[in-house]
Subunit: 423 residues, 2 copies
């Protein structure tokens, strides 16, 4: 008799909950040992990994997978190096668990503070890139959480081979195998089960296209840390250093078109538009970026007319919308209304403007004289990131180890009583 998908997932969930108690109290040294041993195991298993990946690639080719997806799926030697380096980097990060802050005495005589603690069990649902298996597993492990990983069915052999290496690392450090579990079935029902077990799973992190994330957010009965659009803006104020503005705006768009931190809309103050726009347009056009502008923009440069839709669109491509705005207030209004609360930057040398922009723009990252493409866990010093959250609650922006933990109150007394009611 075979096990149903629901029974199987319940079994994984129960094992993860138990393992979370063990990894939650593991020492930093023990967790680092597991990460280093997993890195060693990956290094020793290059042939295994390549062979497993070849099975996925062959199946992908057979199923007519697009070249871009096949490329994401491939575990090249450089990508295996990247996974090994990633594991060693996470091992070198400070352990967030157990840190206590703001411990102070209250008038009653009790001491109250906050202690950082693991969340418990984290479910990760992702698409084709098998290296996400390492990123997610290592960050969850270091932050004291158990993980259930559900990768794309097209990467199942690669993910299993990677998981085997992680298991070797866990075993080496004397940690239970259930600290990191890979869902072995490709049945889609497994996802439905994973997001509906609040008794076993504390949070779900979906990584992938907007469709996947919306579906999971809608159906989940467990909290979700999610990333939706990245409609990022750069606003060039009348007090901008224009040379800086040209370079920063160009970098924000062209560093990589496909990342969520890429600038999608450029806002230009009317008082500087005539001096700023022609040279900016020249640089973008030379690079092959299609420009779509409002009417005032089109008075200064050659651009297609931008429609209302353009202000709402994340192109992730060599297309840029440009709007001339009256002033800083209108720029902030535009960003808060049309943006996705991801990352927005002001180019100005004016202190008061910078202060206002950073206070009033309601985004996960607010920047000054910095290209929006810097929105990234590595660039921010998190060491690694499990994703970039566009939620406001819990974790906002790039999510690293701290975002995979919570804080509990610690209260230390010595027999103090409330209301001094003695018996």
């Amino acid at each position: 008799m075979t096990e149903s998908v629901l029974d199987y997932m319940t079994r994984l969930g129960r094992a993860a909950r138990q393992a979370s108690r063990v990894i939650g109290r593991a020492s930093t040294a023990q967790k680092n040992r597991a990460l280093q041993a997993a890195a060693d195991a990956l290094d020793a298993a290059r042939a295994e990994l390549t062979a497993a990946n070849e099975l996925d690639l062959a199946a992908g080719r057979g199923n007519g997978l697009e070249p871009a997806l096949l490329d994401r799926l491939a575990l090249t030697p450089a990508r295996i190096d990247g996974m090994i380096t990633g594991l060693r980097q996470v091992a070198s990060l400070p352990d967030p668990v157990g840190a206590i802050r703001d411990m102070s005495y209250r008038p009653s005589g009790i001491q109250v503070g906050k202690m950082r603690a693991p969340l418990g069990v984290i479910g990760i649902i992702y698409e084709s890139r098998p290296n996400v298996t390492i990123d997610a597993a290592s960050l969850c492990l270091k932050s004291g959480n158990a993980t259930i990983l559900r990768g794309g069915s097209e990467a199942i052999h690669s993910n299993r081979a990677i998981a085997t290496c992680i298991q070797r690392g866990l075993a080496e450090a004397g940690l239970p195998a259930a600290v990191v579990q890979v869902v072995e079935t490709t049945d889609r029902e497994a996802v439905g089960a994973l997001i509906s077990m609040p008794e076993f799973v504390d949070v779900i992190v979906p990584r992938g296209g907007r469709g996947l994330i919306e579906r999971i957010s809608r159906d989940a009965r467990v909290p979700v840390i999610k990333h939706l659009d990245g409609i990022c803006h750069v606003y060039v104020s009348e007090h901008a250093d224009l040379d800086k503005a040209w370079r920063v705006a160009f970098n924000a768009k062209t560093y990589r078109y496909g990342i969520c931190g890429a600038m999608e809309t450029l806002l230009v103050d009317q008082r500087v538009a005539e001096r700023f726009l022609p040279e900016m347009a020249r640089r973008f056009q030379e690079k092959g970026v299609e420009l779509r502008g409002c009417e005032r923009t089109r008075a200064f440069i050659d651009a297609k007319p931008a429609s209302e839709d353009d202000w709402h669109t994340e192109y992730l491509d060599a297309i840029l919308s440009i709007r001339v705005v009256d002033d800083l207030d209108q720029a902030i209004e535009h960003i808060n209304h049309y943006g996705s609360h991801h990352t927005d930057s002001i180019i100005t040398e004016h202190q008061g403007q910078a202060r206002q922009f950073m206070a009033e723009v309601d985004s996960a990252s607010v920047m000054l004289n910095t290209p929006t493409c810097f929105a990234d866990g590595f660039e921010y010093g998190l060491g690694a990131e499990i994703g970039i959250s566009t939620d406001k609650l819990h974790a906002r922006g790039p999510v690293g180890l701290e975002g995979l933990t919570c804080e509990k109150y610690v209260v230390i007394g010595d027999g103090q009583l409330r209301g001094q009611e003695s018996c």
Copy 2:
């Protein structure tokens, strides 16, 4: 033509979103002025408040409302005093908005840190106590958020009268009226609308019975900060100072039976049960607390047999379940399994036991030699609380001003480019 409930709520939501931009950038002084002026307005409007409350009380009596509910509903002079004091206390709390932490240079030359920011618009759904209107409005205002308050229909006149006083305070400080809005309709559809407008509402805080909170959590399309059960434990270890243990456990149960931090289950180490239990039982029985014990407990004291259900039950009453456990590990296992992750305390003088308990018990508050009834925003020094969260994500435990804010990344550069791609 009358406005539909949905149109009405959309109008409130849109106004709240706009007002949130204003209150979000208001200075600390301006917010404090509004709070102090609202306190003055309440003080001047005692007659109005009492008259409005009398309408609610009369209607309540007419509808056969239970005496306990009528009592909650009553705005006595002492409760009006309490609201005034509460407003002035919130005015005196430090403003969390704009605080920047961990600002540091990255190798690329950018500076990265985190800035505390308001959440935006907070919806509060609560039952009969009209003083919640003041608690919620004042905390949201101080933390830079706009609020939409939906109180119980039985308190509608009282809530309106209180809201009028808050409006006077807002006007005095030059802040828009829509910073604090009270839903004027008692139509239940209004709640459905409020929890389904993510474009206008950033978070919902329900306050009331378990039924209300479960319904809202299930149906909400907006994140919810919620409080479910408070099944709190005290564990008396074999290294406890017994005199402390008797006093702390007694206080934890009897300070007030009806609060969520009241102890519901007492766990006693087997090595100390014989010395500890008889005197403990004597004190509880003298106070009229019904005891339900496991078999090993009943070997030492007179108690009804406890069933499996008892370990899962929040009595909120003069009833206590008692279990004798083998050791600390079994106590932790019991708490993590049967508890509600709210507040749990260990009584011990042994440092290693204290450390293990506080690290491994997966609760919002973990305590040492302290009665669980101390779980409270005022006792913790938050100044006030909007509720106690039993969620792990975002805010855990008593939620004060900090829990009504989030952190955004601030990034300050001076023209640094990513990947040093210059144009």
